[in-house]
Symmetry: C3
Subunit: 308 residues, 3 copies
């Protein structure tokens, strides 16, 4: 396996790399079960979180993962730093580069920013979400979570539901699912369906047709509140009625034994109901839990010196 | 002593538990005097601070306490996380639960939120202040501070002064003082006096009557600036004149050798004057210092595995 | 060398102390080159950052430096703590003092605040910038950076360009340069030139005269955006034309082999151009990198017990 510096998206990973990350996440998860809460793997390494969009969940998940590997974590909170307003991303990166941090975990609303940063630093850059482009650690944790249920995911069918067009989660998770031999389909209103979808991915406009496709897993996307008021985008109530996982649809999942996933945080009453959250095959909490082990595995994979 | 998962209020503690926390805080405090600044007790444990109301002082005190026990500390700052706006407390807790943090230190403006959280997580929940309900670590540090002066607090008389009605500090600290055999009285304007006060607690409307009760300790509450403009609530100047510790009243304390306490931060010129802050029997700084040792003791008491 | 508790400004340092900090920063920098990322020097010590003005760069630099010395770092973020609004600096310091933190790293817009704090705490206080007064760790890292190029700085000529009058960097860096035997000159518009400049410091109003002085180093100051709209202060474009390092002036630097420095963050297109940033003798990134080693050296110098 050729050593790699950065994790920018799923598309650029080899099968071997995906396997490496997923295979090593298991032992990291097992450690906690045996009450080994901290390993010295990254002792002395500095992980810097550079979040241009706030996300307490993702930032905390990386932070806990890094702490459990004994790394030191520092925030570079761009929003609170009004003094440096107007400073370009690259100037910020030059600063971080000069500070010789070992990892930069970056979230930015503009697609491609992590790639730009990665080219300009010796640090390992991990994309924690960039615009509509990619969210690779989410995809890896989604795949890891499903693999806990089915060791071999080939032929397993995932229906992704919601705003596919504007979702980096949909993009990255679709990619990794298909790389692992799964079949993926989309269910979305027309205004939320991407214009160019690969032929292998069936597109549905309603749940009836989607259920007929016989999915094994339902993957709900978060409805972005700020999009609700746009023209052609359904209201919350309308979205719920037509595309949300209503209580009736939860019953369909239960009858058929389908699994349920969501990247969080959920909008109860919009894409999901309380009954959906309490559904016995709902994997949402396992996704969050696995996020830490998978991110530990990513940090371990990209560790300085791993190349040598 | 039955093991316990959470510290939610003083009312639910047994005498044995109160003694355990107070007795162990002493050795933790002594450690620092011997320049032992860090013990490995909670190595690998994760303490997460979940503050829905900002409080740098209380958060930092828990943070320093956790660091000195070698725990890793992570913030889950709800206010900065605009993305998760609208996310319910329970959904946030499910996330934290899935991240398998060991302690959740929570502050919330709504009474009962820590109890709700505690029921929904395996983590140890510590209430760092909820609405008008409780602030148990403040009460414990107050009791510890007084016990440094009088080993046996039975019969000792504390006069609590200020907005009793809306103060979680008044509630928790009154309770622990009385549990330790002290007598408690209240001095407050009518609009700040609770409607139902236990018969054993005398209520005073002016300092003359309150001093006649012969208190040993004066415990001033912080005046909440946001309440000043409400009807029936005195102005700052009027509050100071009638209920504040004026320089003249400091002289009464001095003549009688009374101790002075306040949970901080103080409003100089409102509930206290510079002379009050500099009064030789003012215990405010000792309260802050003891806050760290007492919070270490609480974290130690609730440590994972202590039950076994 | 008499032990010292605080680093408040350059003026109060002895030659021996300046040498001590600069000489020890080298080995700390070398450690990283040998992949020793963490030393146990300050294990168990608590470093508290108290920033009344936001500055992610400086705060992070101290934070990384403290982590590499194994200290625990806690923020006391004054702006986020709306509850304690109105609390005086001294009351905050009494709280920190009571928490027995070992170091307080302070930034405040009012000159002299770190001195006030230092008098009221046993902790070591490090001034991270106060008003127009001083920024001693910036000065130390500037000197360290130049000393990497010229072991003996005597006779070396530095031209400081920009808003000298309102710059704590200009003040502290001028002082340390002159203490190390360098010659310093100022280039600034009249409205940005201090009224009283020591006779030994030549003052220039244009680049032609300044270049005639034959400087070895050009030290650009950051233009404070908020000053641009004041009367008598040039607009950004006018500032750039008359006082900025234009591409033509970069060529002069290149022809003459002059070094270029800036405390960061830069305003591209105002005091500097892209060509300036990419200039091969631009030391800006080295300044940032050396900031960590120099701050480690300062923390080491002031370490508790060093006095004994």
């Amino acid at each position: 396996m050729t050593p790699r510096k950065d994790l920018l998206d799923i598309a650029s990973l080899t099968d071997e790399e995906i396997s490496f990350v997923l295979d090593n996440a298991g032992p990291f998860k097992d450690l906690f079960k045996r009450s080994v809460k901290k390993v010295p793997t990254l002792k002395g390494q500095t992980v810097l979180t550079l979040f241009y969009e706030p996300s307490t969940r993702t930032r905390s998940s990386f932070e806990v993962a890094a702490s459990r590997l004994s790394a030191d974590v520092t925030h570079f909170d761009i929003e609170s730093s009004s003094v440096v307003k107007g400073e370009s991303v690259l100037d910020t990166v030059e600063t971080l580069e000069a500070m010789r941090v070992d990892y930069i975990v970056v979230r930015h609303k503009q697609s491609g920013t992590p790639n730009l940063i990665a080219k300009n630093t010796r640090a390992s850059v991990i994309n924690a979400g960039d615009g509509w482009h990619a969210h690779p650690t989410q995809a890896l944790l989604d795949a890891f979570t499903l693999r806990e249920i089915h060791k071999d995911l080939r032929g397993c069918r995932a229906l992704i539901v919601g705003d596919i067009q504007h979702s980096r989660v949909a993009r990255s998770t679709s990619l990794i699912f298909r790389r692992l031999g799964m079949q993926v389909a989309y269910l979305a209103p027309g205004s939320m369906m991407p214009r160019e979808v690969p032929q292998e991915i069936p597109q549905f406009g309603n749940w009836t047709d989607a259920f007929d496709w016989k999915p094994d897993v339902i993957y709900l996307l978060r409805v972005q509140g700020e999009r609700i008021d746009e023209p052609f985008v359904p209201s919350s109530a309308e979205y719920h009625r037509n595309y949300g996982l209503t209580n009736e649809r939860v019953e369909v999942l239960r009858e058929r034994g389908l699994y349920l996933m969501h990247p969080g945080p959920v909008n109860r009453g919009v894409e999901i109901t309380d009954a959906g959250m309490n559904y016995e095959k709902c994997l949402i909490n396992q996704q969050v839990e696995n996020g830490i082990a998978v991110r530990m595995s990513v940090l371990y994979w990209l560790r300085p010196g791993a190349a040598e």
